[in-house]
Every structure is written in structure tokens, then in C-alpha cells.
């Protein structure tokens, strides 16, 4: 899908540029954009590495596991009878904890393990609600330290790169609430029908 979108963008730039008579600028933009990508990555890599190091420490010192234990009782009500399964709930909590800490390298394998276990509990048929709850929860996850965004802001000369943290938390919490509630409300229209 990404290939089609990328080519569509290239075509759009050509057509739009021709229509507005700005093909010169479009051609110049090829060099500018590619160069900017390097400038951007160089300027954000420092902060990205630093936070990745801090998060590794949070994981190694057992804080991530602790967070996962705190989260488990909060997550149980979302998973119906699957919440009685220890293995499933441990994987789900670990996935959510990794997402909260921005450990994207760890979060996906944990999430897939949780999804596997939930799917097995439901007999590996259809698209069970518990599995969909986990998937949709991952499409709207909360990040405690928005380090990449802060790094971009710092690179652009923000006075206080992390000052957007509270709005980020607020918007993420709202979106998690919306994904859970809308998923629940949509169930009657998308029956399971095994």
C-alpha cells in the first residue's frame, strides 16, 4: 500500500507543479528534501539515543515490569473471560507498559505474543473481541516521554522541547478512551459470525 501512496505523491507533485507552473520549484525541492532528511536525523539522533539508553535502564532495573504489574488490574476489565488467563494478561500488560515507555522495539513482539495467546484462548477462529481490543489499544497507545517529537522540536530551536508533554498525554488518553468506547459501540454492526 505504501508503494502506491508514494508513487501517487510523486505523480501528484508532477501534475500539481505543472498546473501551477511551479515545476522548477518541485525540482529544487528534490535536493532540499533529501538534504533536510539527513539534517533532521543528525539533529534528532542524539536525543533519541539518550532516551533509548534511559529506557533500557528502566527495563533492566525492573521498573518496566513493575509498571506492568500496576497496569494489570486496570486492563483486566477490558478482556472479559480471557482476563482469568495469567499468561495472556501478563503479555498484554507487558505490551502496554512497553508502549507507555516508548520501547517500540520491545512492544511489538510482546503485543504479538499477547495477541497469539488471546487468539488461542478464543479457539483461533474469526476475529474475537479480545484480540481486537488488544489491536485497537495498540493503534492508540500512550507514550509517557514523547522523545522523538521533543527531539524534532529541539532541533528546530524550541524554547522548551518537552513543554508539549501534558497535551500529548491528554490527547493520547482521550484517544485510548475513544478507541475502547467506539469499538464497544460498533460491535453490533460487525458481528463475529464464526
Amino acid at each position: 500500500m505504501l508503494s502506491a501512496i508514494w508513487v501517487a505523491f510523486l505523480v501528484l507533485a508532477l501534475v500539481c507543479g505543472a498546473a501551477t507552473g511551479r515545476l522548477d520549484a518541485v525540482t529544487t525541492a528534490v535536493g532540499t528534501g533529501a538534504g533536510e532528511a539527513i539534517t533532521l536525523i543528525v539533529s534528532i539522533t542524539g536525543l533519541m539515543c539518550f532516551w533509548s539508553g534511559v529506557m533500557e535502564l528502566i527495563q533492566a532495573s525492573g521498573l518496566a515490569e513493575k509498571l506492568s504489574h500496576i497496569l494489570m488490574p486496570l486492563l483486566r476489565p477490558l478482556f472479559g473471560k480471557a482476563s482469568a488467563d495469567r499468561e495472556a494478561m501478563e503479555a498484554v500488560s507487558a505490551n502496554v507498559a512497553a508502549n507507555l515507555l516508548g520501547l517500540s522495539n520491545a512492544a511489538t513482539p510482546l503485543g504479538l505474543r499477547a495477541a497469539d495467546r488471546l487468539y488461542t484462548l478464543e479457539g483461533r477462529r474469526g476475529a474475537p473481541d479480545t484480540v481486537l481490543t488488544l489491536i485497537t489499544l495498540n493503534t492508540a497507545s500512550i507514550q509517557l516521554i514523547p522523545s522523538t517529537v521533543a527531539a524534532i522540536r529541539a532541533a528546530c530551536g524550541a524554547a522548551s522541547p518537552f513543554d508539549i508533554m501534558l497535551p500529548v498525554w491528554g490527547a493520547s488518553i482521550f484517544s485510548v478512551a475513544v478507541v475502547l468506547i467506539s469499538g464497544r459501540l460498533m460491535r453490533p454492526w460487525f458481528r463475529e459470525g464464526k
Binding site: T28, G33, A34, N105, L112, T139, G183
Partner: protein, 172 residues
């Protein structure tokens, strides 16, 4: 209070690591190495996406899309400049990052639009990508309400981003 948050978190994490007898600095280095790998991994995506974003911007296509979407966005209070970001972010993480950083640079990181773009980036995930990873892994042939619910959540995150930036930074 907010100024103390990050330094406090860093000091506390370090002290807790020592208390738990973790070899703090080597562990930090291992994580920083992973961060470097991530940066190297996203570089080609960023080159591909940022170049296209700059081309689209120069061709006038992004402004055109923003003009078309303006009435819908006004309904949710999302600034017009963030229109393309709202469309691209659920599909491509690299594309979202490219477009978002271009917006933050062009409008200024402390401007209203720049802040909304930053909060939008921080508060949303690449929904289609996430759903396809999980669906592909389990071999699900139907995703039922996963996509509509995820898109509702993205829209909610974007509208909340704009509203919260207006509320939290009343001076801009």
C-alpha cells in the same frame, strides 16, 4: 513543576538502577546503541518521505488539500496547515514524521501550528500499519471494527491535540 519533571525522572531512574545493583552506564550504552540503530533504520524512510513532502509542498498540492479539507477540519478545530498530517499519519509513520517535522520547522516549534503538529505526532500511532502487523501475524481475514475504531481514535487524538494546545498555551 513541569521544569523539574525530566531531570527528576532521570535522576530517579539512575538512583533506582544503582539501588537495584544494575551496572547503570553499560546498560545505558546498550540502549543508546539501539537508539542509534533505530535512527539509521528510519533514515531511508525519512529521505524518501521528506523529499516527496518537499516536492508536494513546492507543487502547491499540500495547500490545495488543506483548502479542500478546511471545512471538515474547522468542525474539529484542527488548524488547516495540519490537514495533510492528519491524512498521512495513520498510514505512514515515516511520512507523518517527515510532514510533521517540516511543519514544525516552517511554522516554528513554539507557534500554535507547530505545537499542534508536535502533539498530533506524539499522541497518535500509525493505525493501519499496526493493524496490518497484528492481522498478518495471526492470519485474520476480517478485522471487523478495528479500522473504523482506530480511525475514530486518530480523529479524536487530532481534535484533542488542537483543543489542548489552545487550552494549555493560551498566549499563542
Amino acid at each position: 513543576m513541569q521544569a523539574a519533571l525530566i531531570p527528576l525522572l532521570l535522576a530517579a531512574t539512575g538512583l533506582y538502577g544503582l539501588y537495584k545493583q544494575v551496572d547503570v552506564f553499560p546498560v545505558f550504552l546498550r540502549g543508546a546503541q539501539k537508539g542509534l540503530q533505530t535512527a539509521v533504520q528510519i533514515l531511508p524512510t525519512l529521505v524518501g518521505m521528506l523529499t516527496v513532502v518537499y516536492m508536494l509542498r513546492a507543487s502547491g498540492a499540500i495547500d490545495l488539500a488543506a483548502d479542500w479539507l478546511a471545512p471538515v477540519l474547522r468542525l474539529f478545530g484542527i488548524p488547516q496547515d495540519c490537514a495533510a498530517l492528519a491524512l498521512l499519519k495513520p498510514i505512514s509513520g515515516g511520512g507523518g514524521l517527515a510532514l510533521g517535522s517540516e511543519l514544525i520547522r516552517r511554522c516554528g516549534p513554539d507557534s500554535y501550528t507547530g505545537r499542534v503538529a508536535a502533539v498530533m505526532l506524539g499522541a497518535s500511532e500509525t493505525s493501519f500499519y499496526t493493524i496490518s502487523i497484528y492481522g498478518g501475524h495471526l492470519g485474520l481475514n476480517r478485522m471487523r471494527y478495528a479500522i473504523p475504531a482506530a480511525l475514530c481514535a486518530d480523529l479524536a487524538a487530532f481534535a484533542a491535540s488542537a483543543a489542548l494546545v489552545r487550552w494549555y498555551f493560551p498566549d499563542i
